[in-house]
């Protein structure tokens, strides 16, 4: 107990408090310090290695923890194979759907104003209250805070929150702090897609602020509205899986399944430049 009162402990504790307060305040104000940037630059190769190790372990962990489930699933799939042989025609529809997804891969060809930068995901959150990840590229490749990140299938993942020379950190759509202006492709009904703690655990997010009487249905595609110029107009966010009406307030919200898988992806595309949307 004597050690708690020693000069050394008091000084170390003081330094720790100063570090904690300084970096928390800087983070809250949106400043990225040279120390943070330098440290993340040095850490990049180590994190790349550690993340690859994690990916390798993930496969083994799933094998152990989900063995029974996978066994049952395998049995069920075997039964379904026979059933599916009679559904060859459905394959044509799937082929058509695949063609659609390929179109998303060619998103760059469709939007000539888009410039992409590929990046690998080299780190993820260290805590249980945020959904953030670290990318292998940063300012040296033109990546800046605020840029949208999309998955290889064209779905919006989230946005860059901070960037250093060789790294960038980003938050995903399912993070409770995220908010994106959005609209329903079919009816043009507008709203805000944001993260929600409960839905986020299932990889889903929420579309709020839908006006009363707006036309929105299960299966509708949700796109970015471009309002606020943070994200370009027309990026695919996901599909509506449920429309809920609050019995008391009569307000509506929709549960959205993001097109981009929110966990497990190992590489992303950062949209480094695009034409800003101007609302008429």
């Amino acid at each position: 107990m004597k050690f708690f009162k020693s000069k050394f402990f008091v000084i170390t504790a003081l330094i720790a408090v100063i570090i904690a307060v300084t970096f928390t305040v800087m983070s809250a104000l949106g400043y990225s310090s040279y120390i943070k940037s330098g440290l993340n630059t040095v850490l990049t190769p180590f994190r790349l290695l550690a993340d690859k190790t994690g990916e390798a372990l993930e496969g083994y962990a799933a094998y152990i923890t989900e063995f029974d489930r996978l066994k049952a699933e395998n049995k069920e799939l075997k039964n379904r194979i026979e059933q599916m042989q009679g559904e060859v025609q459905a394959a044509a529809a799937i082929r058509e759907e695949n063609e659609q997804f390929r179109k998303y891969l060619e998103i760059k060809a469709e939007h000539l104003d888009y410039t992409f930068e590929n990046a690998a995901v080299i780190g993820r959150e260290s805590n249980n209250y945020m959904t953030v990840f670290t990318l292998s590229k940063g300012k040296n490749y033109g990546i800046e805070a605020g840029m949208p990140i999309i998955a290889e299938n064209g779905g919006l993942i989230g946005g860059v929150t901070d960037a250093g020379g060789t790294w960038a950190s980003a938050s995903s759509l399912t993070d409770p702090s995220s908010a994106v202006g959005a609209y329903v492709e079919r009816s043009l009904a507008a709203g805000i897609v944001s993260g929600d703690y409960t839905l986020g655990r299932s990889g889903l997010c929420k579309m709020n602020y839908i006006s009363d009487g707006a036309d929105i249905q299960v299966g509708d595609r949700i796109l970015t509205s471009g309002i606020g110029s943070v994200y370009p107009r027309g990026l695919v966010i996901g599909t509506v899986t449920e429309v809920v009406t609050d019995e008391n307030t009569r307000s509506k919200y929709a549960v959205v399944r993001p097109l981009a898988e929110q966990t497990g992806f190992s590489s992303v595309m950062v949209l480094t430049s695009y034409e800003k949307y101007v609302e008429n």
């Binding site: 708690f4 408090v17 928390t24 994690g54 959150e125 249980n128 703690y197």
Partner: protein, 171 residues
């Protein structure tokens, strides 16, 4: 005398590398191998275990550095780990001084207390961000605490092995 200093230096360097890897693992490896959707307090666990064997001044510096590294590498918006790690490391060390024969129990008790604190902190942040506090406590904090308790056993044994090879004469 010179040999002892070199030996001590090697031990401190290896301990630093150990904590460096622990902090990196928490934000790069464990997000891939979650238990019930939670990440364990792996770095905290390693820091507390180290403090039960290491010299007081050394673990104080290492605890602050490990906490700082963890929060920066993990992209955390709140840099609280340096302070938390230092306090827990000092508490674990004080507990070992008081009960030298119950080193593992002291480490486990302090680690659980720290992990509980950290998981409640997660629940508070989540509830501020719109989640129900009880819901966050059940679905995030509890798995975090359980997972931390699970990883404690191998971490403690590894740390013990490290200090069996590199004996610390001052403890």
């Amino acid at each position: 005398m010179k040999k002892a200093a070199v030996y001590r230096g090697a031990r401190i360097i290896l301990t630093s590398v150990y904590l460096f890897i622990a902090a990196l693992a928490q934000c790069s490896v464990f997000p891939h191998i979650r238990l019930l959707g939670a990440i364990p307090d792996f770095a905290l666990c390693a820091t507390v275990c180290v403090s039960c064997f290491e010299e007081k001044r050394v673990f104080c510096v290492l605890a602050v550095a490990a906490g700082f590294l963890l929060d920066l590498a993990g992209g955390s918006a709140y840099v609280v780990s340096p302070v938390l790690f230092l306090i827990l490391a000092a508490a674990a060390s004080a507990a070992v001084d008081k009960f030298p024969s119950l080193r593992s129990v002291c480490a486990l008790a302090v680690m659980l207390a720290g992990s509980a604190l950290s998981s409640v902190f997660s629940a508070v942040i989540l509830s501020v961000r719109g989640a129900g506090f009880g819901d966050a406590l059940l679905h995030t904090s509890l798995p975090q605490l359980l997972y931390s308790a699970v990883v404690f056993i191998p971490v403690y044994l590894l740390t013990k092995l490290h200090y069996t090879v590199f004996k610390n004469e001052k403890r």
